[in-house]
Symmetry: C2
Subunit: 361 residues, 2 copies
């Protein structure tokens, strides 16, 4: 128990400063006014530091969609019934969901992981259509007690680490996006963000799938109850995950840690994925070096979480879907940034006059 | 003279409201909370209205890079010598520039058009590496008099229309991005934006390729002189183009009008492309229905111009390069939006419970 987690945490090294410097030096010489591609160039530097390369490999891409259910739906925090979790997993497998369309556009595969769906997904698991690593058939209701045991929290993290290992080492993926499906999961995510960022439930809680203001007040009250009853210790990431979390949120944190340990970039999607990223950060702060914030969601707690990660999102398209859709959309930008390093010529390589050349005035 | 231009202007119809409605109705039923992909869904509606289709064709993409020189460089408005225009055109042809890398990532071709480069580009024109439609070997110095004659302004617009016709009808492109190269061209663009948006030279003028504050004050003074000496009539788009413009800016306006007449979407890039878009708007206001604003540049006048077009940019990545780089980056988002319409299933198609289903509370 915890051996995989501890080994992974100890393996995570900061991004490489020398490779960042090398990338900056090359980008400074490209045929354009200084740093004229702005944040795309910042991203290229990040990729060089993450991958230790001036030609960051970003060809093989995957969106890992972690799915699980949440006992707190008994409190009426979502507009949708719990069955939508497994129905949407079936939709992912049948390639009919938004993440299928957007990952397809980005040239990325989609892998769905059952981290704890209430409805057993035996047929899909047996056929290999999904990766089956359920910790349990949904968490307990956080309004009444902890979501899971500490052992289950560690299992969810280690399952995520195993998924990252499989994606990177066995299947050869070079860029991972993390997404999720789980009716009710903006509630534990907001609770996690409030705890880990030292914010109130009120400031971290949004309208989720589209609840109205009165329903949101109810949701805030449920989160306040969960925080009061469970008393999570914000210094202990595993305790916070166990008391408030979801299995898919632990799985996402694990994927991030596993990717960071293998020096691969991970695109963080919306509110729930970012809650997972906060858990990963709490367990190993340097893991943030490997995270790329895909987008800014309209969900209220998301900006709080991104600031806590010190991440500037690449996109701001008023998304609030999850599934990894924002991560898929940002994959093209990550690949574009890598191509700046590997494909664009310098002033001297292209025989273009730099600004120091004499010119009329 | 003006026959092609007038025919084109009269052909431009507004985007289709019925197709926009049909798209909205379908998007409302997709397996997600209502409009949970935000601006990507707005864009999908725009594409349906532009292309009159629920499966907007966006496969074949091209970035048209219009290049020309500017007499106003004699006033020392740029950090770079005029030779950089033709040197960068050679770099585009040799696939060593940023636009090559970013268009390549987006699966788009790059076509370079000589609209009036000072240095003759005979070899590249003869080999077919560039499209050669020079109006003259650079504009006159707008600080001393008009950039070009009214006849030349019309020729630049009609050349752009011809390029759009060739791209769409002969070569089968379905999505066009407009970009440019021309040392000094932020100066005429800022002058155009000030005139067409009713703003001062000071508020429309930025730091271009990276000039310092003192150089910028000089640039503002040059633009003020150009406005004073030329007295462009803001109600007459051709007059504004002739007195302040560049040949590539007229070409860009022409491409936009030609694409709008053929009901194809056009991605507008940064400051200079948007100045061209303002000319197109002035000549035919409904042409804006076919424009998609790719990104918000750091150049000061860009936001003013985008507001005048009533366009919200898709990206905000602190770009200030031009070449069509922002348009190339946004092409993936346009394709992603189209795929929402054509690939994502509705609740009933996917057998997923909608929010009206009974669920515990």
């Amino acid at each position: 128990m915890m051996k995989i987690l501890n080994q992974t945490l100890f393996t995570i090294a900061p991004a490489s400063v020398p490779w960042r410097t090398r990338a900056t030096e090359r980008l400074d010489q490209l045929t354009m006014p200084h740093w004229a591609l702005g944040r795309l160039m910042d991203l290229a530097v990040d990729l060089a530091g993450i991958t230790r390369s001036l030609q960051p490999p970003i060809q093989r891409k995957v969106v890992v969609v972690m799915a699980a259910d949440h006992g707190v739906v008994a409190e009426g925090v979502s507009k949708y019934p719990q069955d939508v979790t497994w129905q949407m997993v079936a939709n992912f497998v049948n390639r009919g969901a938004s993440i299928n369309a957007l990952a397809g556009q980005a040239g990325a595969d989609v892998r769905v992981v059952d981290m704890g769906i209430a409805q057993g997904m035996k047929d899909l698991a047996h056929s290999g259509a999904i990766i089956s690593l359920p910790v349990a058939r949904g968490t307990a209701n956080i309004a009444k007690g902890p979501a899971m045991t500490r052992a289950q929290a560690i299992t969810s993290l280690e399952s995520g680490i195993q998924v990252a290992r499989r994606m990177i080492e066995t299947e050869g993926y070079e860029l991972i996006g993390v997404g999720e499906m789980g009716i009710g999961n903006t509630t534990p995510s907001a609770a996690l963000i409030a705890t880990l960022c030292g914010e109130s439930a009120l400031s971290s809680t949004g309208h989720g799938t589209g609840i109205d203001d009165e329903q949101r007040r109810h949701k805030v009250a449920i989160i306040e109850a969960a925080l009061r009853i469970n008393q999570p210790n914000p210094e202990d990431g595993i305790d916070v995950l166990a008391k408030l979390g979801g299995f898919e949120i632990g799985g996402i944190a694990g994927v991030i840690l596993g990717a960071a340990a293998r020096q691969k970039p991970v695109l963080i999607d919306g509110l729930i994925s970012t809650a997972g990223a906060l858990i990963a950060q709490r367990l190993m702060p340097t893991a943030t070096d490997y995270m790329i914030a895909a987008h800014r969601s309209v969900e209220k707690g998301h900006l709080i979480a991104l600031r806590h990660l010190e991440k500037e999102p690449l996109l701001d398209l008023q998304l609030r879907l999850g599934e990894g859709t924002g991560a898929a959309l940002a994959m093209n930008l990550v690949e574009a940034a890598a191509r700046l390093l590997s494909e664009v010529k310098t002033f001297s390589e292209a025989a273009v006059s730099n600004q120091n050349a004499v010119h009329p005035r």
